[in-house]
Symmetry: C2
Subunit: 412 residues, 2 copies
């Protein structure tokens, strides 16, 4: 008998019919002999609607009240799903974060989970109930409702799985697993059987919208096996596991892209110590998240600094950059919001030379110009013109022969 | 400095614009030097939508989960209103039933309030905050969310006012107070300046949809002055107060009507001891709420029994009545759902003879036939054909000269 935590996203819970289907899956898992805890998101786009309401009421909604408001979405789904499971003849009970005791800090709207009591849930499981927990929410030391940031239900699920010592945390979603690239863009993309936490982390932060980065970090930290699989069928999905459990490391296991960024260049900045801080500390203070930073070698005491920011932050970041450029005596500022970041990710890069060379050559052969480059131990990212996104993804997918990885599927 | 509990209904909180107006009223009350606690209903018809969802999921939704679900409506409004008050520069904080500690029994969906802790609210008031409490909800001894029945926010407000020793509980609604009759039906209806708890109770249970009966009972029990007034302006409304505070008792202070009932007659029931029980115990067991019961004097050992039930219960009550009639050897069953109950209510009836006579004569003069009569110490109800409702109300309003009561308005 295993303990399974299943998390279902908003699309899988969009209407009553889908809630019934989810109830069916939870009950099937229980009838197969498992203890089952289900973590739910809000129905469909309900969270967006609640956030919109908050912003209609206030330009800067009070964070404490914001959390009281937006947490109602998941509470609603949890109650409906518990009812739907009961209709199938299985005892079920919703337990809110304040009842479970999902302790967080008090940073409203972006709280961090600190400790979860498992007692109440274990009691319910022992009496044969399926427990339904609204994701995304917690409770502060002061006893106030907190939420843990958009998409936080993944993190809630993995954290609950860790706290309960679950055998698996299933992330049920509208795709069948983690693919070598976005199948919408790269038709011959393949589903990966296994992927390491680190690869998943890179893929998630590089644009793959399957799992929330924080949930993967949690999974890695506590060694929770995560199984990303479909909400709509029972096919095996992708297991996210420790690196030690990956038999055969792929040099590259995925090609991801992100079109949500924009690029800013400050030209001819006097290259003196502390100049980077004078640009990026104010950016950070203004809440602008900077991703890639490239600084060219200095020529005649001056350097060009280029960096990327979220596209929605561009206006703010640009006017700040213009002010800073003036203060620093730079020659000018330029921006471009028609860029894309395309990345290849793979554990095998650690051991294999030549990945960068293969990547750059493949792109060059297709005439795709590389504007910026950023690397880490297991990924290489390039910034290119946005219109080449699809071409670049397909080219790289072929160059690393990702359509040929069948061996992994057969491991299981 | 007074402590005011203000309750706003769903119509007054139907959209963001109205929530802003309500925020304005709460802030105005505070700026006038008062401590202010606001109790809110769900926005507009949100509760109906949540109840409909529950019934889509299950024919008989689990009551515990039903409460988790429907309580989200008020939680949402409470958070939005707290934000809107903050926008006006005044500190505000929503406190859920589980935070305030509004203790109820564990009869889900129809829980009774048992005890309210005032401490947390008093602390917030002391630091100058407006406290916003979602109505309708409580917490069971087991720590589960409960709700106290439809329209329960009135009761929440009065109970909170009692627990906090508030100087007044304002019920802010879409009418300007309690009128001598429904102004929609009787154009010269007048607003009452004061009405006693008992009169208000009778009016509420006889069809005036201004205040929930339970809230009036609570107010009477704990001596909470209730001020029924408009959500949209600051005119004096109607004070609901102890009988001892009513200077001049009106013989009749209101004419109410109810078109939600239907009538069932069982003909020629053998008149033996226990026969009423054999009809009405099964009705009660089946959850049918019976209002008026009339049993004629027995002729040759048989009697006709007529009673009214809620119109929505008619089909169920009728088939039950037919089965019972057969068991009891009655001669037949008849029903009519085109009836109305018209009532006159007034404390002064206690001292004045002839109210019934005036009532019956006035109706007779207009050719309105009386089908059933029911009386209590301070009210007389008659059941008539539904099509005469307006005529009967106007006739009685004139007969008791209710359009002439101006003196009371000037008392204040």
């Amino acid at each position: 008998m295993a303990l399974i935590v299943q998390k279902f996203g908003g699309t899988s819970l969009g209407d009553v019919e889908r809630i019934r289907e989810v109830a069916g899956r939870a009950v099937a898992a229980q009838k197969a002999g498992n203890d089952v805890v289900v973590v739910v998101s809000a129905m469909g786009t309900e969270t967006d609607a609640l956030v919109a309401l908050a912003h209609q009421v206030s330009d800067a909604p009070n964070p404490r009240e914001y959390d009281v408001l937006v947490s109602t979405g998941e509470q609603k789904t949890a109650a409906l799903l518990a009812m739907a499971i009961q209709v199938l003849g299985v005892p079920a009970r919703s337990l809110l974060a304040s009842q479970v005791k999902i302790h967080t800090d008090n940073r409203h709207a972006q709280a961090r989970i600190q400790r979860i009591d498992g007692e109440l849930i274990r009691g319910e499981l022992e009496r044969g109930a399926v427990v339904v927990v609204p994701g995304f929410q917690g409770i502060s030391p002061e006893g106030n409702i907190t939420t843990i940031g958009r998409g936080g239900s993944d993190t809630s699920a993995v954290a609950l799985a860790a706290a309960l010592g679950a055998d698996v945390c299933e992330i049920r979603t509208d795709v069948e697993g983690v693919f070598t690239s976005d199948p919408g863009l790269v038709p011959n993309a393949r589903k990966l059987a296994r992927v390491s936490y680190d690869e998943m982390l890179e893929m998630a932060s590089l644009g793959a919208k399957i799992l929330q980065t924080r949930s993967v970090r949690f999974g890695k930290q506590y060694g929770v096996p995560i199984h990303v699989r479909s909400s709509f069928n029972d096919k095996e999905g992708t297991w996210v596991v420790p690196e030690s459990e990956i038999m055969e490391r792929l040099v590259v296991s995925g090609v991801t892209y992100n079109r949500d960024e924009a690029k800013i260049t400050i030209f001819s900045v006097p290259d003196v110590p502390g100049v980077a801080a004078r640009i990026f500390v104010p950016m950070s203070d203004a809440g602008v998240v900077v991703d890639i930073i490239v600084q060219n070698v200095s020529t005649r005491g001056h350097t060009d600094v280029t960096f990327t920011v979220g596209r929605s932050d561009l206006t703010r970041a640009l006017s700040l950059a213009e002010r800073l450029a003036e203060e620093l005596g730079a020659s000018g500022v330029e921006s471009n919001d028609s860029i894309a970041k395309v990345s290849v990710v793979g554990l095998g890069m650690k051991d294999h030379a030549g990945v960068a060379a293969t990547m750059f050559q493949a792109l060059s052969d297709e005439g795709v110009n590389i504007e910026m480059i950023n690397t880490s131990e297991i990924k290489i990212s390039v910034v290119i013109e946005e219109k080449y996104t699809e071409l670049a993804c397909r080219t790289l997918h072929d160059a690393f022969e990702l359509d040929k990885i069948v061996a992994q599927e057969e491991v299981l």
